[in-house]
């Protein structure tokens, strides 16, 4: 049995529901309802209101289409550039404990020094981020960012070699050339990533396996795969070409390679370095002037 109280509640509920349903309609839709009278069609046509109704209907359709597009755009995959930036940082976050970058570090003055060298060589409008790691396991790498580059560098490596600001900046410059040459992206990118980046997944779930694959490739590239001899040769020659006009920088770079070569040969902790960056010894040879046989 429906009591008076229940009946009152039911009415109140229906009233609230109809009020909500009304608020969901666009303002233009409501206006359309007001002007859409078939019974007085002639009068309306004479007054031009019929045309106004048609215009309103078109306006409503356009707005509804825009609304759907906005809703659909919420389901976009990031563009390739944005995806690189996101995955690089996500990889750093996921490996925070292994890479051990969350520690109080000395101020090496790298920002100013690296900027100075880059500008000296004519590289302008380049955004960079440097992250120092407190681990000897991962020595160095340059990761692609979104319109920027992310350098990671081991503090124990820097300390063991007693590297100066200039020497560190030259290592970063080498990494910059590697990144610019697209070696990292080429070694890490997957087909799925290229296919999905910038597309839409409206009506389905995003394929996160794409990011998982990339994260695995990042770890593999930074800790195991590294670069080929050919890639190293090209980078060394590029360094040679850019630094030749500045003998001080060239000599520092040449001495630095020799220093690294001697260091990794006697230090077991950095035995993998040669596999990742083959090889400082060869780099010295590639840079050395050819010996003339008399």
């Amino acid at each position: 049995m429906l009591t008076k109280k229940n009946f009152f509640c039911l009415c109140l509920g229906l009233f609230a529901f109809s009020a909500i349903a009304q608020t969901e309609k666009l303002q233009e839709e409501k206006e359309l309802e007001v002007v859409n009278f078939k019974s007085i069609k002639k009068v309306l046509q004479q007054d031009g209101l019929s045309q106004a109704a048609k215009n309103k209907e078109k306006q409503v359709q356009v707005l509804k289409k825009e609304q759907t597009q906005v809703e659909k755009s919420r389901y976009n995959y990031p563009t390739e550039s944005e995806l690189w930036g996101f995955v690089s940082e996500y990889w750093l976050v996921k490996n925070a404990q292994l890479l051990n970058w969350d520690f109080e570090k000395p101020d090496y003055g790298l920002e100013e020094n690296f900027k100075k060298i880059m500008q000296q060589l004519g590289f302008y409008q380049k955004k960079f981020k440097i992250l120092m790691l407190n681990t000897p396991t991962t020595v160095r790498a340059a990761l692609p960012g979104n319109e920027e580059m992310i350098f990671i560098l081991s503090v124990p490596f820097v300390r063991s070699l007693d590297l100066s600001k200039l020497e560190i900046s030259l290592l970063l410059l080498e990494d910059y050339f590697r990144l610019e040459a697209g070696y990292f992206k080429k070694n890490v990118a997957t087909e799925k990533m290229t296919k999905l980046a910038g597309t839409n997944f409206y009506g389905s779930k995003p394929d996160l396996s794409m990011v998982e694959e990339l994260l695995k490739n990042y770890t593999n590239q930074v800790n195991q795969k590294g670069y080929t001899f050919q890639q190293q040769f090209e980078i060394t020659k590029k360094m040679d070409a850019f630094l030749k006009s500045n003998p001080e920088l060239w000599n520092t770079y040449f001495r630095l390679l020799g220093k690294i070569d001697r260091f990794i040969k006697v230090n077991v902790q950095y035995k993998d370095y040669v596999r990742l960056y083959p090889s400082p010894e060869m780099q010295v040879k590639w840079l050395s002037p050819e010996e003339k046989v008399l």
């Binding site: 389901y75 570090k105 955004k127 992250l131």
Partner: protein, 145 residues
Amino acid sequence: MSQLGNDPVPLEGIKMWWILLLPSLLFAETVSTDEKVVGVFYFTPMFGHVHQSSVKTSASLTTIQCSHPVKVIESSKVSAGPEWAYVQVADYRGFVLKRFLAEKRPECFQGKYPKFFDAFNMDLSELYYWGRLNDQYVQGETRVN
């Protein structure tokens, strides 16, 4: 009534109260005028922390994300240093690097790709580290001299 009105002791007591109360009221006035809200700014990196002190490695009071409004406060009692801003976020008062604040609401990754970002369902530890990451970077940009 007569007892109260004729008794000189309570009156003196009231005077004494005023003498004690007046400086504290004046002091309260200086405290309230000592602080100035510089304005509301927006946090720009993906995630970050409101720090307990103006040191990158100092403890985090709370984690905030891109586009979060931050009230910047100027106070003669707090020295933030040239790189840091003294801020209020909800009930927390702490420090945020100035380079992370913008006057206009920034376009954030999580705002641009909400469904993609939400799908990762990041845990607190990941959000915390992402915030720390932005603090730990040494950042720069080369320019034409």
